[in-house]
Symmetry: C2
Subunit: 350 residues, 2 copies
């Protein structure tokens, strides 16, 4: 019997790349997404990103347009499919927006998750891979950040929502010995599948650095805003641990394999990063090299909720999951550029 | 125009005593409650506790059986009534049970609250009094606990749910200058209205000390379980800051008056306690004196999630709200006993 994975938020950037690797690894996929952040052609039953995933893998998946907060629709999916494990990506993810619309973030990210976990419990599914974030570490107390770093004291509602869900998952595992939960704490996912067929396609002006750079390179935006140039970092701009989306997706496959094969119960959190920090200006330079384009940028004030420097110690994931990042800053920029120049307007055909 | 207060969870112990004081202060009350923890006579449209509040005050209130997680029913209440302020009591509150059923606690306490806040926003109501708890202070770092004490690091899902909601409220106030939020951090509410007509009426075996003692005194339970006698406290039992429910209810009236009259926006938290700590054995002794009954008790192991000692510095509430506790341990025990002996089975007529 094939192990079936329910992927929530599977139409998005991280979800779609992960589904691709999950299908390649031989698992079956049922995907739910409310499509608030993804392109869906009028009248189409499946978002464009997932159609392309089917083409790339030559496999098919089942898709439902479901919002997790709609308890009945979600439960109908569990009723229809025998789910062995859930990989939970569905969430709002823009730090700045979360400060402006905290309730929306808490509802989507916390209420949605708890309704999902309740459904899992009721349908007897206790394997869970959670899309967490390095933001759960809050104010950075030491570097590199390993999994012993305190969590909490998060600087934005987005970060808090990720942290609160981790706490809920810990409590759930403490309440019952049925649950196996792996929380993957992403540092900064960037890049695209090397085919150039799927990639990051934010609605509106991008909130994250790489899609912003890429849209400037392709001429869709005039100039990049660099938020904060007075941080206590080598060049004054924020330093992050960028992780190639394909590496990150493979990390999920390793986590799923662990849940499928091991009988270990409880809550486990692993950093997903390369262990190297690059500044915003480093990334601009690398992207200029990869694309041959000049990136215009302007230095603007810091954004609320951003931290100066963050990079991981990712050795625990190597030890426990047998996973390590393989791809560097060059592949991150080249693959982003390939996706962007082949899809200047993302998934939409203009 | 009368100021109208929507009281959530108004049928419960704290809610009903507060409604009584709110009505006495001249405000109008609309109450919603899902009645999961209150006695409601078959076919009755209003729970017994609130019928008695109406009798005691000679005023009437509007009651709806609504669960906050039912978005549509809740919004219907806002559509029907012009609400000026919400006093939010609806929550599950048993520390031990929360460790066993964390999801239930997070759904009720967090999802319910965020759906309520969303409705308030949509209907233009931005005054909020939150029923918080001293458990938000987590591991006690200094005594007495004042409002500068760090919050978080809570030891139970119940405590975390109270803490998370405070964080949501802070973020909401930071996101918009419309909100005025007062969070009242209760220490340990005990006692009953001096009429003996309303009081604490837990379902099943009580989780809190005073109703347990009272049920032993009245012969409904054979013996009291004292959870933990090896704490680092004078007599080894847990020390708490007990606050008379009528004092606490008056604290809410002061908070509502502040919200009605002042134009101050933002998030404010105040301790609601007496500033004095009493041990479990102190309370047993005081109750024996008030009731003339002997209380049988047995020492049993600690409960998960309980802290050894907790008492407040309540001077900030005195300063900011003009509120101070008036009633002592004697009134707490006498009033509890009056309620218990006149209503040996709580609100249910057996």
């Amino acid at each position: 019997m094939t192990f079936t994975i329910l992927v929530t938020g599977g139409a998005g950037y991280v979800g779609s790349h992960t589904i691709l690797e999950i299908l390649k690894a031989g698992y079956d996929v049922v995907c739910v997404d409310n499509l608030v952040n993804s392109f869906n052609e009028e009248g189409s039953k499946m978002p464009e990103s997932l159609k392309r995933v089917e083409e790339l893998t030559n496999r098919s998946l089942t898709f439902y347009n479901v919002d997790l907060q709609n308890r009945d629709s979600l439960r109908a999916v569990f009723r229809k499919h025998k789910i062995d494990c859930v990989a939970h990506f569905a969430a709002l993810k823009a730090v700045g927006e979360s400060c402006k619309h905290p309730l929306q973030y808490y509802q989507n990210n916390i209420n949605g998750t708890s309704i999902l976990l309740e459904a899992m419990e009721d349908f007897g599914c206790f394997n869970f891979v959670y899309s967490s974030s390095a933001t759960v570490y809050g104010e950075v107390q030491f570097l590199p950040i390993d999994e012993t770093h305190p969590t909490g004291n998060c600087t934005s509602p987005y970060g808090k929502s990720k942290y609160f869900v981790e706490e809920i998952l810990r409590d759930l595992c403490a309440s019952s010995d049925k649950w196996s939960v792996i929380s993957l704490r992403y540092f900064n996912p960037v890049g695209a599948h090397p085919s150039g067929k799927i990639g990051e396609d934010p609605n509106g002006v991008p909130n994250n650095l790489m899609p912003f750079i890429a849209q400037v390179a392709v001429g869709r935006l005039p100039s990049l805003k660099v938020y904060g140039s007075d941080y206590n970092t080598p060049d004054g701009t924020g330093v992050r641990d960028y992780i190639h989306i394909v590496d990150l997706a493979e990390g999920h496959v390793k986590a799923l394999q662990k849940l499928e094969k091991s009988n270990e119960k409880g809550f486990f959190a692993y950093n997903i990063g390369t262990g190297c920090g690059f500044s915003v200006l480093d990334m601009i330079k690398a992207f200029e090299e990869a694309s041959g384009k000049q990136i215009n940028y302007e230095l603007v004030p810091r954004r609320p909720g951003d931290v100066p420097t963050s990079y991981s110690d990712a050795s625990l994931a190597a030890q426990a999951l047998g996973w390590r990042a393989r791809l560097g800053i060059r592949e991150m920029c080249e693959d982003t550029w390939r996706w962007q120049r082949s899809n200047p307007h993302g998934y939409a055909k203009l």
